[in-house]
């Protein structure tokens, strides 16, 4: 009996539970999916950008000391990508280059020509912030002045097209996310407003017996916040599920999603669920509390 009573009391401030949670979960899920897309795109971009290289060809016949000196000069430059404090620079001797070439082509051209026409090369990975075309051109010029450097090359078009597309994709994704966020908020807000419509006369009755506004709001708000949070949790579970499924289909996908970012996304979804539930309910109740009886009908 006591349990029964408790259950009934809980019903104050209640509304169609399943439909609200379902709608909010769906809205949050779509939002989360978009968030995931942005994260993956960002990380993919970073991965590509980290592999933008400049190749520095050296003059033939340089001594070991001269090569080390050039490598040292290059390592100290800001535009060289640092990973774990290590400058991402690789020196490939002309012998190594010839070996790789022979492995790839299967032709022993050194023997055929009687000489190795290749040069020593230093490969530099460029920091993303120096990857604008203008920067790369300046870097190319600067390295060209170092004595012992024969030629500096990079794949100009690739860098340009990456930069252009990344910017485009970012704009589109951010735009979509903003629109989606608005849609989600409006959708959740409407669902809750509709659900509370059935409770408007009870709100009215409570006002007339002299209940304070905060007393009237409390059960509605706590319930709506809980529903929002629950929807957030369900949506997060769905996102994790989708991720697991996608990983099985697309190998390496999970490497593109960093755990800390995924946790931030999860927290954001829970927070949006909670806040939208709370704020929409607050606004809807406030509206009903201000209405006269005639308006309520």
């Amino acid at each position: 009996m006591a349990k029964d009573k408790k259950y009934r009391k809980k019903k104050l401030g209640s509304y169609p539970f399943a439909s609200v949670v379902f709608s909010v979960t769906l809205a949050l899920f779509v939002m989360g999916l978009f968030g995931l897309l942005i994260l993956t795109t960002n990380n993919l971009t970073r991965l590509i950008q980290e592999n933008v290289e400049i190749q520095v060809f050296l003059h033939k016949g340089l001594s070991q000391n001269e090569v080390v000196k050039i490598t040292k000069i290059l390592s100290s430059k800001d535009y060289v990508l640092k990973s774990g404090g290590q400058a991402q620079i690789q020196h490939i001797t002309k012998e190594e280059a010839a070996e790789t070439f022979m492995e790839e082509t299967g032709e022993d051209f050194v023997n055929f020509l009687g000489d190795n026409p290749l040069r020593d090369v230093i490969k530099i990975k460029v920091s993303p912030e120096y990857q604008a075309s203008q920067n790369l051109a300046e870097i190319k010029k600067e390295i060209g002045f170092i004595s012992g450097v024969f030629e500096v090359t990079y794949i100009e078009n690739l860098v340009q097209s990456i930069n252009k597309n990344v910017r485009k994709i970012s704009y589109v994704l951010v735009g979509f996310t903003v629109i989606l966020l608005i849609v989600v908020v409006v959708l959740i807000n409407n669902t809750i407003k509709l659900a509370l419509f059935s409770q408007r006369f009870l709100i009215r009755s409570m006002q007339l017996v002299g209940a304070t506004s905060s007393f009237i709001r409390k059960p509605f708000l706590s319930r709506a916040s809980w529903f929002g949070l629950l929807s957030g949790m369900l949506a997060c579970a769905l996102i994790w599920g989708v991720l697991q499924l996608a990983e099985r289909e697309i190998e390496g996908l999970i490497d593109l999603v960093r755990m800390d970012e995924l946790l931030v996304l999860t927290a954001a979804m829970l927070l949006v669920g909670l806040l939208v539930g709370f704020i929409s309910t607050f606004a809807a109740i406030k509206k009903y509390m201000k209405m006269s009886l005639d308006e309520l009908y």
């Binding site: 009573k5 009934r8 009391k9 019903k11 104050l12 006369f201 009870l202 009215r204 009755s205 409570m206 006002q207 007339l208 017996v209 002299g210 209940a211 304070t212 506004s213 007393f215 009237i216 006269s292 009886l293 005639d294």
Partner: protein, 236 residues
């Protein structure tokens, strides 16, 4: 202390509005402690609007109104709940929680209006239920009660905080004559114990059987039987 000697309701030179238009203009009256007053008038003459204005549900722009010690000219919205605890409001559409028993309905109102002590709550609950003659229905759900019994629960609910005055808008509107007279008897009884009553009604039989002061809304004016003689009968 001062409250005891002052009228429970005091309206002076006030206009009553229904949405944007005036339904009663320049009205003044007082209701003393323990008085029983009928409020009559055709449908749309401003009875309900007057009652709503008195319990701070409708705004007014002119004159002054004081109810149960609260000056409605200056009352802040956060104080309105405390005003309503000093008055009892009863009308037909006033809902009970359909998913709670009579006891739960009443204890909810007690908690909503600041009651904390469980023993005191229990005592007061039994008291108001006995008073409206529903001692045996405490554990029933509203749908298990007749219309008259439901109205008694609503009256019990209005009595919980020992109001200075009851505002009743057609409290017997959709009840059959026999049940109506029972409910009316209850109002008279409550009034005898010192609570003022302002009752809007179309039921002339009550006025004939139990004569008391009458306020009549008539063509934008409020006529008071304590000051003028006027025709009670008419088509409402």
């Amino acid at each position: 202390m001062e409250l005891n000697s002052r009228p429970v309701v005091e309206v002076s030179e006030t206009d009553i509005y229904q949405e944007s238009h005036t339904v009663l203009s320049d009205i003044s009256f007082k209701i003393e402690k323990g008085e029983f007053v009928y409020l009559i008038g055709r449908t749309g003459s401003g009875k309900s609007s007057l009652l709503k204005t008195l319990y701070a549900d409708l705004a007014f722009h002119k004159g002054a109104i004081e109810v149960a010690g609260y000056d409605l000219t200056k009352i802040k919205s956060k104080n309105i709940p405390y005003l309503r605890r000093k008055i009892g409001i009863i009308f037909q559409d006033f809902q009970l929680f359909p998913d709670r028993t009579v006891t739960e309905n009443l204890t909810f109102v007690m908690r909503a209006t600041g009651w904390k002590d469980r023993t005191k709550m229990k005592g007061r609950l039994a008291e108001v239920l006995m008073r409206v003659g529903l001692g045996a229905a405490a554990e029933k759900m509203p749908h298990q009660l007749s219309g008259g019994e439901q109205q008694r629960v609503v009256i019990a609910r209005a009595l919980i905080n020992e109001p200075l005055i009851l505002f009743a808008d057609e409290p017997t509107g959709n009840l059959d004559p026999e049940v109506s007279s029972g409910i009316f008897g209850l109002f008279k009884e409550i009034n005898r114990s010192g609570t003022s009553v302002l009752m809007a009604t179309h039921n002339h039989k009550f006025i004939e059987d139990h004569p008391a002061r009458v306020l009549k809304c008539d063509e934008g004016k409020l006529l008071d039987s304590a000051e003028h003689e006027f025709e009670l009968s008419g088509h409402y």
